[in-house]
């Protein structure tokens, strides 16, 4: 520019004054809003980053709420399980285990029937404690079927059967005697191995416990009671054919025989039920997002299970299900039900109803109760670990939320000292520009002409 003119100078001044005012306005807005930027366009990178952090913050906040609910659920479940553990096995004198010990060690057996009632009552208490573990409308030990009661009794009295979500918890039977290759041992109707029956004639023992060969019978000094031929009641019934025939298995623990076909039918049906129980125990899950990075596998709707938390608590995982190799129930409540029934059926004098077997069964079941109790302990410890994990995760979510909050505020919010300094500087510049404007407008040669 070779020539500065009044209008040119004024134009420049106006433009610069406006810039200065804009800068002042921006600095003022910055102080008033407390934000480093007030629109996306002012700083797109920061805005995008801030939105990302804010989104994570909101996710973490809702995960925190979710985690809080889950934690409360597990704490409630833990308390319920604590009570159940107390009912089953502790030093408390009212516990099942103490009662069982009393039943086993009672020298006179006078209180067995009453004790049986107590044990049955304890079994009911365990069921009630399990079913009573609720959070809101949900039954905590119903797995993913939280709106339905987990444990129910079907049938009455000593025949009542405990079901979990409609499935008998003692599914898996009948259990029969097996060979070393885990194959059922085929027996005759009397429970004997047909291969051992080499004599020509056999008689059936009257108590149904087996057969005796004619040779042994004849040779016996004291003839065992045998079934007599209905056509000639003076003669023992020849059951050679039955004794040699197979087609039966020997049930455990009763020792009774069951027709092979019937066994197959019952086993298939029971295995299905057992498979359902196994599915519930091993595979059924109810996942919730508590900040573990909820995500599905690529090209699939399958959840990455480690990215969510399974909150399905199955009552059978704690109390046990199925039957063992002796044919005894694994479920604590079923064991207690059986033991209570055995005690309850004792006579007033404390004698077992079936002295030959009941005492033995009671003792065996007492050991099984110990095993089931150990399992309950293990699950209880696992639940403790879960509650601890949830607690830690909950605290971590809180920390994460705080960190995220700090991060996006750091991006969005101005350092007030810096903002006020900038404002003061902008105001200073603006004031200077105004001052300059006054002198621009007043000075020209015209003012000096005489």
């Amino acid at each position: 520019m070779i020539r500065a003119t009044t209008n040119g100078v004024l134009r420049s001044y106006r433009s610069n004054l406006n810039r200065s005012f804009l800068a002042l306005n921006k600095a003022r807005n910055s102080v008033l809003s407390g934000r480093t930027y007030n629109s996306y366009a002012e700083d797109p990178a920061a805005a995008a980053h801030s939105f990302q952090l804010r989104r994570s913050f909101l996710r973490t906040s809702s995960q925190y709420t979710q985690s809080s609910t889950v934690l409360h659920k597990f704490e409630t479940a833990y308390q319920a399980m604590d009570r159940i553990v107390g009912l089953v096995d502790n030093e408390h004198e009212d516990s099942s285990y103490a009662a069982v010990l009393r039943g086993a060690n009672d020298p006179t057996g006078s209180g067995r029937a009453a004790l049986g009632k107590d044990i049955l009552q304890l079994a009911d208490s365990i069921v009630q404690a399990t079913n009573g573990a609720r959070y809101g409308n949900d039954f905590l030990f119903s797995g993913a079927d939280g709106l339905n009661v987990p444990l129910e009794w079907t049938g009455e009295g000593e025949n009542r059967v405990l079901t979990y979500r409609g499935i008998p918890v003692d599914a898996g039977g009948p259990v029969v005697e097996m060979d070393d290759a885990k194959q059922p041992i085929e027996v005759n109707i009397y429970g004997e191995d047909p291969a051992t029956k080499t004599d020509a004639v056999y008689y059936a023992l009257a108590d149904g416990s087996g057969t005796i060969s004619k040779t042994d019978y004849d040779a016996a000094a004291e003839k065992p009671a045998v079934k007599m031929d209905p056509n000639d009641t003076t003669k023992p019934l020849d059951v050679a054919a039955d004794a040699k025939a197979g087609g039966y298995y020997k049930l455990k623990p009763s020792g009774k025989t069951i027709e092979k076909a019937e066994y197959d039918t019952q086993k298939a049906e029971s295995d299905k039920l057992l498979a359902q129980l196994k599915y519930l125990s091993n595979d059924e899950a109810k996942y919730v997002d508590i900040g573990l990075g909820l995500q599905e596998h690529d090209n699939s709707n399958d959840l990455i299970t480690s990215s969510a938390y399974d909150i399905a608590l199955q009552a059978t995982d704690y109390l046990g299900y199925g039957v063992d190799e002796d044919g005894d129930p694994k479920n604590i409540v079923s064991i207690l039900q059986r033991m209570g029934t055995l005690l309850q059926n004792c006579g007033e004098d404390g004698r077992w109803e079936n002295p030959d077997v009941d005492g033995e069964e009671y003792t065996r079941l007492a050991n099984k109760l110990k095993t089931a109790s150990d399992g309950l302990h293990t699950q209880h410890v696992k639940l403790t670990a879960q509650v601890t994990f949830l607690n830690n995760n909950h605290n971590q979510l809180k920390d994460t939320a705080n960190t995220l909050n700090e991060q996006f505020l750091e991006i969005d919010q101005v350092d007030l000292a810096d903002a006020i300094t900038s404002f003061a500087w902008a105001q200073y510049c603006y004031n200077s520009a105004l001052k300059m404007g006054n002198s621009i407008l007043s000075q020209s040669l015209m003012d000096y002409m005489n």
Binding site: N148, A275, N301
Partner: protein
């Protein structure tokens, strides 16, 4: 004349007084107009007057002196080159200013920075709220009130989509109105320039320099340059009788850079031709808001007779060479049909078949000496329906309006790129933001609707029939959810790969045998390293179709759409941000969110709090997915994905695109504005009134006036001496 007349010097003094007076008058005019917009400072043109010619008897001792100063005119001090540069910058300023204004109006809707509760955004925060509601439902599955909470949150989300879409459309309509007003303004400017031209022409003819009118015309041209890029040409027009007057022509600068492929008349788009000017006619939305230049008319709306003739004197040799060339051309058998030659009369006529005829005539004019001329005549047919400008013919503010109203970026069709604007895919206006928002709403609705509809399956993901038996395909294999999802996903990836790397071949892509190949002829492979084959894709499609048919026929369908295109129905076709609604079934309770499709084997019901599908929905809320423009615009040129991310990331991306466009436009505008300001100041340095200058002029003319008066006094005294005091000795 060698001697001075007695009173001649009085005239010199008088002329000096006159000149100084005129100078003061002009200075006064300059000072008065210091604040007049567009005023160009004026200066007095004066010459030194010298009367007489050569004396008959000249004396070598004689001294010739001038007769004083003579004002001959008033002129303006202006630099045309600065005008050209300034107007060039102003067209960019106009374009960017308009674009930024419109982007700001879009941002006022889409920009969620510092908005919403705790400044968490609006739609952005609502997505998070929906996620939270789904989480609650996940936790409290089977309890209806939590389904209602999800529905309420989703309703708020769709309402926000509706609001954004409606505000965008309203803003677009406002922009159309503003555009129409701007067209009106431009038309008024063109009319005013035409009228000024007419007035200046008349004044020119009468010898008036009409400087103030020229200032006003320059101001109007400056204003016009903000709306479109213009070329301003000043030429002299022969009006006969040897009189020449100035003629102003204004053309669209750089219009139609591809005359071979587009209407070539548009590169001759003339806005103002002397006393004639055009008017702009704006097309409607269906016509892409195209602009048509109406025929040129004068102030009385009479159409222009489009003849122009130039005459150039040429040498005899050039004349002879031209005549020879004409004869050769006449004899040439390959002479184009649109060329007519009359070699005898030295005439060649070329019809460009597009409304213009060019005639060249060579003439020999007898005389001493003989002169040779080349006369070129251009005749333009009257354009009854005007000239429709091509997409990129017009620049400046008007073009910015057009682009912001029509450009759809990634949603641009192949046809538009091929026939309208090859760079259309990178320009984003209202249609882009509207369609991108539509795509987000559509994708969200589609994904959530798909998630809420399915078929009953067992715990292994095998679909079941009504008898709870596993459904099997023709090969006897169970139909599983994982296979169906995997196949769909695979087909999606292949489609994307073909769109990105394939070479279009009709409706398909280029094949080498059975393999799809890229532009280098190499087979295209997917992420698993498999070569994309036609048979593979056909088989996958066939398989998927078979499964879907089996499921439709025998599967146990569950769930209904959650979102529809109308709150009064359940139609999911064509969901956009404007119409996305909660489906009637969901809002009336006939449909619920399906918590799970899994009924485990042996059970008679789906577990009451199994929420595997809600967890799936939660995962979908954060799942990164592709967004295909073809979902909204079937024939979009970009068949690939325009973005890969979650719903909220897509929303952020939409805002980022807008914000970056705003930012870059703002920076460019600032640059151009600063340049234009500099240029304007430079123009001021040349043309503007400066008080110091004028003060100097005042003093200068005052002094010269005083000096001329003193001269007169001196001459008077001298003559007084001569007349009254000379020759009286001894009296």
């Amino acid at each position: 004349m060698s001697s001075v007349s007695t009173f001649g010097t009085f005239t010199t003094a008088r002329l000096g007084i006159y000149a100084a007076q005129k100078g003061l008058q002009i200075t006064g005019n300059n000072i008065s107009n210091i604040n007049t917009r567009g005023y160009t400072r004026q200066v007095l043109d004066q010459i030194s007057l010298r009367t007489g010619g050569s004396d008959r008897y000249a004396s070598q001792y004689d001294v010739k002196v001038g007769n004083g100063a003579l004002p001959v005119g008033v002129s303006q001090i202006r630099d045309p080159y600065l005008d050209i540069r300034y107007r060039g910058e102003m067209s960019s300023v106009g374009a960017l200013d308009t674009k930024l204004n419109i982007l700001d109006s879009i941002a006022s809707i889409l920009d969620e920075v510092a908005r919403g509760d705790d400044e968490m955004g609006v739609i952005e925060a609502q997505f998070s709220d929906l996620y939270k509601a789904l989480q609650h439902l996940d936790d409290s599955t089977g309890q209806e009130e939590f389904d209602t909470q999800v529905q309420s949150s989703a309703k708020a989300l769709v309402t926000l989509f509706n609001t954004y879409a409606s505000r965008l459309e309203k803003e677009k309509q406002n922009t159309v109105k503003r555009f129409e007003q701007e067209i009106e303004t431009v038309n008024k400017l063109l009319t005013n320039i035409k009228e000024l031209n007419s007035s200046i022409r008349k004044s020119d003819i009468h010898g008036d320099n009409t400087l103030e009118q020229r200032d006003e015309r320059n101001r109007l041209l400056d204003e016009l340059s903000q709306y479109m890029k213009i070329d301003v040409v000043y030429s002299m027009e022969d009006i006969g009788a040897g009189q020449m007057v100035e003629k102003l022509t204004v053309k669209l600068a750089g219009a139609n850079p591809q005359p071979d492929t587009l209407d070539p008349r548009t590169d001759r788009a003339v806005l103002v031709d002397g006393v004639h000017a055009t008017q702009l006619v704006l097309g409607d939305a269906a016509d892409n808001y195209s602009i048509t230049l109406a025929g040129l008319t004068d102030v009385k709306s009479r159409p222009m007779d489009n003849h122009s003739t130039t005459r150039t004197e040429i040498s005899e040799a050039a004349f002879n060479a031209a005549m020879k060339a004409l004869q050769d051309l006449a004899a040439d058998p390959d002479k184009p049909n649109n060329v007519t030659v009359d070699a005898a009369n030295g005439t060649k006529t070329v019809d460009d078949l597009m409304g213009y005829t060019y005639t060249t005539k060579y003439i020999k004019q007898a005389g001493n000496p003989t002169k040779f001329y080349k006369i070129e005549t251009t005749h333009a047919e009257a354009v009854a329906d005007g000239i429709k400008l091509d997409d990129n013919d017009i620049r400046g503010g008007l073009q910015a309006y057009r682009e912001m109203l029509t450009e759809s970026g990634e949603f641009t069709t192949s046809d538009t790129i091929a026939n309208v604007d090859e760079s259309a895919a990178t320009k984003r206006g209202f249609p882009y933001y509207q369609k991108a928002l539509d795509l987000l709403a559509n994708q969200f609705a589609k994904v959530m609707n798909e998630a809420n509809q399915g078929y009953l399956m067992n715990e292994n993901g095998e679909y079941l029939n009504a008898k709870l038996e596993v459904l099997k395909d023709a090969s006897g294999n169970p139909i599983t959810e994982s296979n169906v999802v995997k196949t769909k996903s695979q087909l999606g990836e292949w489609k994307r790969l073909l769109a990105q790397k394939g070479v279009k071949d009709g409706n398909d892509y280029k094949l080498d045998g059975d393999n799809y190949v890229d532009e280098n002829g190499k087979p295209i492979t997917d992420s698993a390293g498999n070569v994309l084959t036609k048979s593979g894709i056909d088989d996958a499609n066939k398989q998927l179709e078979e499964w879907e048919t089996a499921l439709k026929d025998n599967g146990v369908a569950m769930g209904k759409p959650l979102f529809s295109n109308n709150g009064d129905g359940n139609d999911t076709e064509g969901i956009t941000a404007a119409n996305i609604s909660i489906s009637k079934d969901w809002s009336t309770g006939a449909a619920k969110i399906i918590a799970s499709f899994v009924q485990a084997s042996g059970f008679d019901h789906i577990a009451t709090t199994d929420s595997s599908n809600i967890t799936h929905m939660l995962a979908l809320m954060d799942k990164k997915m592709d967004y295909f423009p073809t979902d909204m615009v079937g024939d979009a040129a970009n068949e690939g994905s325009m973005f890969h991310g979650s719903f909220q990331e897509m929303l952020t991306n939409l805002q980022s695109v807008m914000a970056n466009d705003q930012r870059s436009t703002s920076i460019q505008l600032n640059n151009y504005y600063t340049s234009s300001l500099d240029l304007d100041t430079q123009r001021d340095s040349v043309s503007s009134v400066d008080l110091n200058d004028e003060a100097m002029n005042l003093m200068q003319y005052q002094k010269s006036y005083a000096a001329a008066c003193r001269l007169m006094t001196t001459v008077d005294e001298v003559l007084d001496k001569l007349i009254n005091s000379t020759g009286i000795v001894g009296r």
